[in-house]
Symmetry: C2
Subunit: 447 residues, 2 copies
């Protein structure tokens, strides 16, 4: 048996090899670049990737003396192309920004670089991370690595696909409704949307101030841990080890007709997830989100319309003819939202947040669907974000935990959710839940 | 009598001359530049100003055929140096960003340029618009144009001073507590903080997502009107002409000891403002903000601490030794705010907003103090923002209307406040209130 090819390593595993001297960042980067060159002609995950720049950065990292290396030393990160990077273009999958390359790093990129990360390239996105039309606007669209006839989801399409395809261990996404969690489920990877505003969103294309959140992709909880520690996400008070045995979970379904019905794959994953947790000694209470939360999705979309009206006005002035119809609709307020309705939606969502925290705090975590079903066929539409909306609107941290599969063998994950600012607790829970779902859920990465 | 020197014109007045052909944008820009060259060695309002770039842009605007000119054609705008401009550096008054010049426009700048504005230069700011230490970190500090021994206020120090000094008709500021309104009062100009999130904050240095707002400076309500129309601020439903006679105002004082006592100048301005409105036929009801709003200032500062912790983390990683102690304190959470307290503050402020709207909607507008008193002596400290905090925390639109004077003859303005998304209504009110305060308040610009 040969040694694992470096591209297959998680970031934490690669770091162990950097530490014991059995792998350099340059060798690692070369393995990732080779993976990209063989796989990406099918997947199309990258909006920009300069191998020379990657190798130059990698060599620079190798030259840092071991005692001066940062906590993210050599961790290779694909960056959604709505996040500014000072050494690469940021194009938003919009003709308005083709080849645009401002010399500035987003706040998240500054933090990652300061911790030693290797900023690898820019990954594809739907237009401004604000439509459900699969990227790219020119050339072939991004494909699901597990079945290229299917979508990888969106709007963080490229980051989800690249991490799922082992072209890079870590990806950055964004989420305004379900743009991080949905691709997580479709690509069979861990996806984390931390508590709103717990990581600076500066330098990340704006859609909604009150919803937009940086998203994190990885193939292990250890890798997510590396990231949230670098971003200094801290809960109140220390907590000990988390054990599944004796823990209480809520298995949450969302009330219809406000939300759609889950497909058979998601329904089976929810059932199996509950069975597995129970088999390992947990209590699982099945609940439907209480009635007071029913208007949440309507409010979410209403606030989003008002926010989109503000966010896309400059682009509209710049080049209306280059904007997607839905964005023009926001700016022109085609749905005739009133300010009164917009404020009511904003205020009612705000009033729901502490109530939802109280509900969540009764459990170790809430388990909920991540997506309607496995990734649909076709790359033009990235699928429904409806199931991800509640936790985005409520500002709660969510992790998509992979492990299940749909009727066509495609990956399906479940959302594990905690109350606001319990991101560290949530990862402790997901570490244990993930062990079980990955081992016994029925889906295996086969790439 | 000679014709008015062009630099003395408001933006709307200058536009009338562009239109009738009696003034070109280039001639106008030359007059402003001349004003800068004679006055700014005393005032120090500019962090960056390139006369050649200004004239080049002005000539370009003059070449646009009249029928293709934008609504802000030739309107010269000073931009606070925490707002990104693609053709000028953005330095945040921080050594970390000295000479930093990312090639990107903030959303607000994109909109202004698309409407024909002349982006004039970058105005001084306190460090990251987040301290009360008067700019600049190197060289002389920005002075109040009406008395250079005094502060122009902050954090939008340079924009307030430059507009007050007629070096430029329009300035952009930002406000997180009182960074736009306070300099408005100190410099004797109109200052507007629109409804939160009614103008895109993208590309403006982040301090707090939930409070930061772009601010607008001008020497007339007509000029503010030009700006908010370009930014497409729209109220619900059309409203007719506003008349002072028969209108009802609230003269609001804030409960102590949560807020400080106003100084004699502000107290006199409040008294005189009420008298003048009554003399013109308005009803003025004197109220103190109800008790349920008492914790507002404490909550505001608490949320700000949590937000600062996130916003300045990247700069902290980059160069902690270059950060002001208060910002290091945010990142290191020196005051030991818990997540629980932070969420309580965030949620309670959210719950107050609809209640404050109800209170405001009983009146044509709320009249409140803008600052403790006239601008204090010394340029090192920009003064207290306490009186501006409530309306920032409540997301309400506010205009500082000038017209009064303090014991030392310095200008004092009053805040005129409306409920959220009534920005157009607020300007209609301020147009009439401003006529009275400017004519009869007792202070005259003498520069």
């Amino acid at each position: 048996m040969t040694a694992t090819e470096p591209f297959r390593l998680t970031a934490a595993q690669a770091q162990a090899k950097f530490k014991d001297g059995s792998l350099t960042v340059e060798q690692y980067a070369k393995s990732l670049l080779h993976r990209v060159s063989t796989r990406d002609p099918t997947v199309h995950a990258w909006a920009y990737l300069d191998p020379d720049l990657v190798l130059e950065q990698a060599r620079k990292l190798d030259r840092i003396p071991p005692e001066e290396r940062g906590p993210l030393h050599g961790v290779a990160i694909g960056v959604k192309d709505v996040i500014l990077t000072k050494d690469m273009p940021t194009q938003h999958n919009s003709p308005i920004y083709e080849d645009d390359a401002p010399r500035i790093d987003a706040a998240s990129i500054m933090t990652l670089r300061a911790n030693g990360a290797l900023i690898f390239g820019k990954t594809t996105t739907t237009e401004f991370a604000a439509t459900s039309v699969g990227p790219s606007h020119k050339g072939p669209k991004t494909a699901n690595p597990h079945d290229p006839s299917r979508t990888p989801g969106g709007s963080s399409s490229g980051s989800g696909a690249a991490v799922g395809d082992m072209q890079v261990p870590i990806g950055l996404g964004t989420q305004t409704v379900g743009s991080t969690i949905r691709p997580g489920s479709f690509n069979g990877i861990y996806a984390m949307k931390p508590t709103w505003n717990s990581i600076s969103r500066e330098g990340q294309k704006l859609y909604s101030l009150i919803f937009d959140t940086l998203g994190l992709y990885a193939r292990s909880v250890d890798d997510l841990q590396l990231l949230i520690d670098a971003f200094q996400l801290v809960d109140d008070g220390p907590e000990g080890h988390f054990a599944i045995k004796g823990a209480k979970f809520a298995l949450v379904t969302l009330p219809t007709p406000e939300w759609p019905e889950p497909g058979p794959g998601t329904e089976a994953a929810m059932k199996k997830g509950a069975e597995l947790l129970r088999a390992h000694g947990a209590m699982v209470e099945e609940i439907t989100l209480p009635d007071e939360f029913r208007p949440m999705y309507k409010y979410h979309l209403q606030v989003l319309a008002g926010d989109g009206r503000v966010a896309f006005l400059p682009d509209y002035y710049q080049a209306k003819h280059h904007l997607h119809d839905s964005l023009i609709g926001h700016v022109e307020n085609k749905d005739k939202h009133t300010r009164r309705d917009q404020l009511k939606a904003f205020d009612e969502l705000a009033a729901m947040r502490p109530k939802m925290d109280v509900l969540a705090d009764k459990y170790a975590a809430i388990i909920a669907p991540s997506a309607l079903d496995e990734a649909p066929v076709g790359q033009g539409n990235t699928g429904s974000a409806a199931f991800c909306g509640p936790w985005t609107a409520m500002h709660m941290p969510v992790v998509n935990v992979p492990g299940f599969k749909g009727e066509n063998g495609m990956p399906i994950g479940l959302s594990v959710v905690a109350s606001r600012y319990r991101d560290q607790h949530l990862l402790r829970v997901c570490r244990e839940v993930g062990k079980i779902f990955e081992a016994e859920g029925g889906w295996k990465r086969n790439l």
